[in-house]
């Protein structure tokens, strides 16, 4: 399972993501700088968290228009697996790989804490080692994670089983519609999520709840 992690100015979780990928899949991911125009040959590209371009204009907006994203968009259209975490979710959504938008948290506060996630769909490349309905602990750290979309899109996401993760009842930290924490595209090849599973995989993280998510990549 070869992977690449894309790095933009202002991204700060790329090392955590690379460590998680390497320690669980056994293969060191390739780091790709945003000005590059072509991805190396990989099975998965991860857009990690952070504050690309200081969240200028809108979170993820500038990074979504960078040279490497053109190639990611083109390859995603042909089935390349893409995972966006936190700012990465905002970036790939701004790039049009996922529907809807991530806006300011409902109570205006930056939230940095642990939440519970329910695995709603366990038939994806990032959840196939989980049971449907399983609840895992996972940290969040964001100011703009409030997922919104129009009624028609929401109906489709729910109807097509494209809500991959939901904040377990009572732990929604940002006001996201239907407690949505992570979604996927129609083909199931692009997943975006606000929480940081890469920070809940080692005993030193306190819990290892999110290890099976990365182990899922091995079966994908």
């Amino acid at each position: 399972m070869k992977s690449a992690v894309v790095v933009f100015p202002g991204i700060n979780r790329e090392r955590d993501m690379m460590l998680a990928l390497e320690s669980i899949t056994g293969v060191k991911p390739v780091s790709v700088w945003h000005t590059e125009t072509e991805l190396p040959k990989v099975d998965l590209v991860v857009v990690p968290g952070g504050f690309s371009y200081g969240d200028y204009l809108r979170c993820g907006a500038i990074a979504a228009r960078s040279p490497i994203m053109q190639d990611i968009r083109a390859k995603a259209a042909k089935g390349l697996k893409v995972l966006g975490v936190c700012n990465g979710f905002q970036i790939i959504t701004e790039a049009g790989l996922l529907p809807g938008a991530l806006v300011r948290n409902k109570d205006l506060r930056f939230v940095c804490r642990e939440v519970k996630l329910t695995v709603e769909n366990n038939q994806t490349f990032f959840t196939n080692r989980m049971k449907k309905g399983a609840v895992v602990s996972c940290p969040v750290a964001h100011g703009e994670g409030n997922y919104i979309c129009d009624t028609e899109t929401l109906k489709r996401l729910e109807g097509e089983n494209r809500v991959v993760f939901r904040y377990t009842h009572g732990t929604n930290p940002n006001g996201a519609l239907n407690d949505i924490a992570g979604i996927m595209n129609e083909a199931g090849t692009v997943i975006g999520m606000m929480p940081h599973p890469e920070n809940m995989i080692e005993p030193l993280h306190g819990k290892t709840d999110c290890r099976p998510l990365f182990e899922s990549l091995l079966a994908a």
Binding site: L57, G100, A101, R104, L108, N146
Partner: protein, 79 residues
């Protein structure tokens, strides 16, 4: 030529910043304040001198970058 662009949140999109401003105006004693919505304003200098072409160019800029049309509307003024 200069383009002046206003970007506003679409109706129905929650604007927590506007809500916070609304609350603060109330704390300052301003009565009769209804809903507050916050937006963005841009000025872009253009080499183009033809108004129709400039409008088209700025519209493309708004659709591709300046606004996220999933949640925002934009209004262009050329001067």
């Amino acid at each position: 030529m200069k383009a002046k662009i206003k970007v506003t949140l679409k109706n129905g999109v929650l604007d927590p910043q506007g809500k916070a401003i609304e609350g603060a105006l109330g704390h300052l004693g301003f009565g009769g304040v209804g809903e507050v919505r916050q937006g963005k304003y841009f000025e872009i200098e253009l080499a183009e001198t033809d108004t129709a072409k400039a409008k088209e160019q700025v519209k493309a800029m708004c659709d591709k970058l300046i606004a996220n049309t999933v949640i925002e509307n934009y209004d262009i003024e050329l001067a």
